[in-house]
């Protein structure tokens, strides 16, 4: 495991584990609460929950600087939380309140905060990939040493913009991470029904860039794999396609029961047995790098922070309908 890395300074394995654990627990509790609130009708709109895939966002973000930009997807809460978004503005946005990240104009699929490098979630599958390429272009143009990561799913790797953006990043040799979160499904369509290949990483060869596969349930592995790609990118060696094999624990949208016709209970059980947070905690404690108490404390403080954020969101004012036409244009 890397002792030091670029974005943050880990002086020891322990620090990395704590960092990854923190990011994952924050995502998990944010999502569990968001799901409950939506199902109960307290919160409007749709939610594509990230639960189960936490190791990918945590592992990737743990290698990035705040100034490194990412573009996300419809399933973007996990990326935002891992990149450092605060719960209050996120919940407020999910509630459509004026205090939210988008002042209520965007909702779940459009959380963004360039200050922390969250260039934005996106409702259009593949829509964010070329945008990340543009963010990376800006870093080279300004020689600021930044990298950009584009997240997308197995299904998203079938849309034209993935192909165009990957080839563009390759031929312009841009510092881009193409992060495919392969959770085996595009909505309700299994991977075998939307592509003939098993590994999306195989597509990298078509662009002349490296394609690597990593266990998307193992945050440390994701961290290490991404770190190598980030170092390549910062060194001016161009983009890397990273395929993280993962799984979503809930339905495509919302928090319905796990057992849905298109997935077998066995399949779900096998993946849940490899819960990324449980695995990391077990490992950290076995290796004596973290205490059970520390883990518990993280869950508790995060629970409290979620509760605070929800209270903040609920107490926040609705947007003023008089501002409906604000920010259509920059004047």
């Amino acid at each position: 495991m890397s002792l030091t890395q670029d974005g943050l300074q880990f002086t020891a394995d322990r620090d990395l584990l704590i960092d990854l654990h923190r990011r994952m627990v924050r995502i998990r509790l944010f999502e569990e609460a968001a799901g409950r609130l939506m199902e109960s009708g307290a919160m409007p709109g749709f939610l594509h929950l990230y639960v189960g895939q936490e190791a990918v966002a945590a592992g990737v973000m743990s290698t990035l600087r705040d100034s490194d930009q990412i573009t996300s997807t419809h399933r973007g809460h996990g990326h935002a939380v891992a990149k450092g978004a605060n719960f209050r503005q996120m919940f407020a946005e999910l509630y459509g309140k004026s205090t939210g990240y988008c002042h209520g104009r965007g909702g779940s699929m459009h959380i963004n905060d360039l200050e922390i490098g969250m260039l934005g979630a996106n409702g259009i599958v593949g829509g964010g990939i070329p945008i990340a390429v543009g963010a990376a272009f800006a870093s080279v143009y300004r020689q600021d040493g930044g990298v950009a990561a584009a997240f997308f799913g197995d299904g998203g790797s079938n849309i034209g913009s993935f192909h165009e953006a990957a080839n563009m990043a390759a031929v312009l040799n841009l510092p881009v991470l193409l992060v495919c979160e392969n959770n085996g499904y595009a909505e309700f369509t299994a991977q075998a029904d939307h592509m003939k290949i098993k590994d999306v990483a195989d597509r990298a060869a078509g662009y002349g860039i490296p394609g690597v596969i990593v266990d998307g349930m193992d945050a440390v592995a994701v961290h290490q794999t991404t770190l190598a790609a980030v170092e390549r990118a910062r060194a001016g060696e161009g983009p890397t396609l990273i395929e993280a094999k993962t799984y979503r624990f809930y339905d495509h949208q919302g928090v319905k029961g796990l057992r849905i016709p298109y997935r077998s209970q066995d399949e779900v059980d096998i993946w849940k047995a490899r819960d990324p947070i449980t695995m990391l905690e077990r490992r950290a404690i076995d290796e004596g790098l973290m205490q059970q108490a520390e883990c518990t404390a993280m869950w508790e403080t995060t629970h409290a922070e979620v509760a605070d954020a929800i209270a903040f969101a609920e107490a926040s004012p609705e947007p003023d309908a008089a501002d409906l036409l604000q920010d259509v244009y920059t004047s």
């Binding site: 709109g45 909702g107 459009h110 409702g123 259009i124 309700f188 309908a321």
Partner: protein, 345 residues
């Protein structure tokens, strides 16, 4: 024996006049597709999650079971290839139904719709027909935000070669999808998300509603409201409110915006002398502009007031329910529009 007879008669009457069958918009649409697939073996369906799942709006529930994987096909997330597949199969004489989950996704397949499907017949000299049907869902009001709520029919109506239907109730949802599938040209049928559960009478037998024939949904002498898609419902509500004041609003539903039944609209305008055009799309550059431009041209000497328009304000669709409610046109804004028309000379 007499009893028997009367019993039989009773039964007979019961059979002759069954209670009118009510169906939801989405079920009526689904029935139209299913009936066409039963009657024409060349009709097939491709799209994302249309087979195993039946479509995210359940537009296609049960079709995979009845017609099998050969005729009901799930695809990758590749809208350009989905429409392109339809264009190629249609050019060879099949009748593809290509589903575009949300109308907003036109952005990723506009070339196949506009530069390929729409132009093929003309630029190839008339030798090829493209009997392709694209089904999609438009409209706001469901908290789906800026990229899943647009009404973009004006783009399509501006393209020679395309036909565009906007069903406003369950009866039309069935009749227009049937007409679209039977049409030998590329057609787009735009369902409205908020109407999916709306019920109305839908005959069981297969029927088609001809494109380019507007429907006078409600006759009236004082004001004409030309309403598109779901706005027909809002226009009816506004008409009810004004009727209470003795103002008779005529509600006209064009049903298809390409071709557009100018004759019926102009005839109504000449009778009422006051016209309001309503749609969910942003007002600027919407299909209402074309309708208003045609009315003021062809009914110039009959108008007592300018043709007014009610549409969405000029911004993307906001997420917040409060903002979205203020954004989407409704009965109140239609009512206000009618009052402005009536205030004029």
């Amino acid at each position: 024996m007499s009893t028997q007879t009367s019993d039989l008669q009773a039964t007979a009457t019961a059979i002759e006049t069954p209670p009118q069958r009510q169906l939801t918009y989405v079920k009526a649409f689904n029935e139209g597709v299913a009936q066409m697939m039963r009657t024409d073996p060349d009709v097939f369906l491709v799209g994302e999650d249309v087979a195993g799942y039946g479509g995210v709006f359940h537009m296609f529930d049960g079709l995979k079971n009845e017609f099998g994987a050969r005729r009901v096909v799930d695809t990758p997330i590749s809208e350009a290839a989905i429409i392109g597949l339809g264009v190629g199969a249609a050019a060879r004489g099949l009748r593809p139904i290509c589903d575009l989950m949300f109308m907003d996704f036109l952005g990723v397949c506009m070339d196949q719709v506009v530069n390929q499907a729409a132009k093929m017949k003309y630029m190839y000299g008339g030798t090829v027909s493209v009997p392709l049907t694209i089904t999609t869902a438009g409209g706001a009001g469901v908290g789906a935000s800026a990229q899943h709520s647009q009404s973009l029919e004006a783009w399509l109506a501006h393209v020679p070669g395309l036909k565009v239907a906007m069903p406003s109730d369950a009866y039309d949802a069935k009749g227009l999808i049937v007409a679209a599938i039977r049409d030998d040209n590329p057609t787009i049928v735009v369902l409205n998300k908020l109407l999916l559960g709306a019920k109305s009478h839908v005959p069981e037998e297969l029927y088609a509603i001809p494109f380019g024939q507007a429907k006078i949904v409600r006759p009236g002498r004082d004001v004409t409201v030309v309403a598109i898609g779901r706005m027909v419902t809002e226009a009816r509500a506004a008409a009810e409110l004004l009727a209470a004041e003795g103002i008779e609003v005529e509600v006209v539903d064009p049903r298809t915006v390409q071709p557009l039944d100018t004759a019926t609209i102009v005839e109504s305008a000449r009778r009422t002398n006051r016209v309001l055009v309503v749609h969910e799309a942003v007002t600027f550059g919407g299909i209402g502009a074309e309708i208003a431009a045609q009315i003021q041209d062809e009914a110039f000497d009959y108008l007592d007031a300018p043709v007014l328009r009610v549409g969405a304000p000029f911004s993307p669709v906001p997420f917040s329910p409060v903002l979205e409610k203020a954004y989407v046109p409704d009965a109140q804004r239609i009512l206000a529009g009618c009052r402005r028309l009536l205030e004029r000379g």
